[in-house]
Symmetry: C2
Subunit: 240 residues, 2 copies
DNA sequence: ATTGCTTAGTTGTATAGTGCAACTAACTTA
DNA sequence: TAAGTTAGTTGCACTATACAACTAAGCAAT
């Protein structure tokens, strides 16, 4: 690093953190978006954007702390699966100048979410159905691109991990878990191999309870770890 | 973003880009490190660090441009496989203040590298053998941690991609490619399944030429694409 | 109570990519 | 011509998957 750099008297880029918050609503993959305020002096007024904000160098110890602070503010969720996605930074993504964002993604269990409208200032948070590689609305900044990358990463990882399990409530049946997988992947999976896969690892714990329905009751399971996903050895389908 | 934020009158973190540059030297995985200068007014004087530096908001259009600029400065390589690894940012990784780094990793073909000593100011660049999860020297900042993460990511991806192919010269034999895989993974692979895997995809192009030796000549291959790695359907070994 | 319907869960067979071991092929050197 | 070395192939076992047909457990209607 040059002497010039060491004096730090050069322009620094803006530093933000964004979180792509996924959940399952009515068995469909959803993403949480925030409506930006109407102040015309800020970029993209009134437009939908990912959850996120500036790093607060006084409050935040590290980037993940910024992400968790924002997640808590907008969803009321204290602990959740949170994984770094990637970072973006260039001269034109924010009209205010050279800007970087460190992007995380999170998969929230349905029952853990406090309705976005509950927090102060959060009435502009709303869940959007994920359709193909995005949502049915325009997004601020380069957030459409970031969201597409997050969806792609999520779908890729779902092929060989247990990530959708983090979208489930405390107790769930194998069929419900399969539904979650299918909602994320947007394609059907085969029942028997799905069950074999899920039960072949240390992912689930069977409970003695059954979910009653208008037909054969289904055994209820729970996650052994709400933090660590399980990795499978193969992806789901053969090449089509 | 708050009104306070919109005025941008708050302290911004430092923004750097680091690149973990991998190559194969004498059939061993190596990483390129730079010796920081002896100016005591800068952090970690005389210590080894990853290739990297501050984002230059005047010169660099985006983060990858910063990475490629640094890569060119230190290795003379203009085009190389470059993938984003992750980002780090916290209040204590740099004594100068809250600091973030966007980290990339690169796999360089042996013959593409101009000796580090060739560039101006680059005489302090040196290749280090990768041993276990690091190198046999102390690193500046949190670079030992970053390097360990990069090695881990590289090894993980090598289990199901063609990444080591980017470490090869223009023409190579299947045995040489297998040696590269084994150097990265630090474990032996089985010959026949390795060959089947490599030839089952669109990765390689057979040439009519053979590498002559003191015994049976080996067919020479070349990469079909020097940019896109191939993804295989499974990882290499069964669970041990 | 029996039949039919629905959903949960199992079983048997085929397939594909891998690991393993033994084999053949091509070349050099003595 | 034989021995040694490395390249490359072949056959068989193994395992996780896909697919299809099956059984199991509940409800509702008759």
């Amino acid at each position: 690093m040059s002497t010039k750099a060491s004096k730090l008297n050069f322009e620094k880029p803006l530093t933000t953190v964004d979180i792509v918050v996924f959940s399952l609503l009515e068995n469909k993959l959803n993403v949480l978006l925030i409506k930006r305020n109407e102040d015309e002096s800020e970029p993209y007024p009134n437009q939908w954007a990912l959850v996120g904000g500036f790093v607060d160098v006084m409050k935040d110890e590290n980037l993940e702390a910024t992400a968790r602070r924002k997640l808590l503010e907008k969803t009321g969720v204290k602990t959740a699966y949170l994984e770094q996605l990637a970072s973006w930074g260039n001269s034109n993504r924010d009209p205010r100048g050279w800007s970087t964002t460190h992007v995380y993604f999170s998969t929230l269990a349905i029952n853990d979410i406090q309705t976005p409208s509950s927090g102060a200032n959060a009435s502009d948070a709303q869940w959007f159905d994920v359709i193909d590689n995005g949502v049915a609305t325009t997004l601020a900044f380069d957030h459409a691109n970031i969201l597409a990358t997050a969806i792609h990463r999520l779908r890729s990882k779902v092929e060989y991990t247990s990530l959708p399990a983090f979208l489930m409530p405390e107790f769930f049946t194998l069929k419900e878990l399969q539904n979650a997988y299918e909602a994320v992947l947007a394609r059907p999976l085969e029942k028997s191999s799905f069950r074999t896969r899920m039960l072949s690892t240390d992912l689930l714990e069977a409970t003695p309870n059954y979910k009653e329905a208008a037909n054969r009751p289904a055994q209820l399971y729970r996650l052994k770890s709400k933090i660590d996903p399980v990795f499978f050895q193969r992806t789901f389908n053969p090449i089509k």
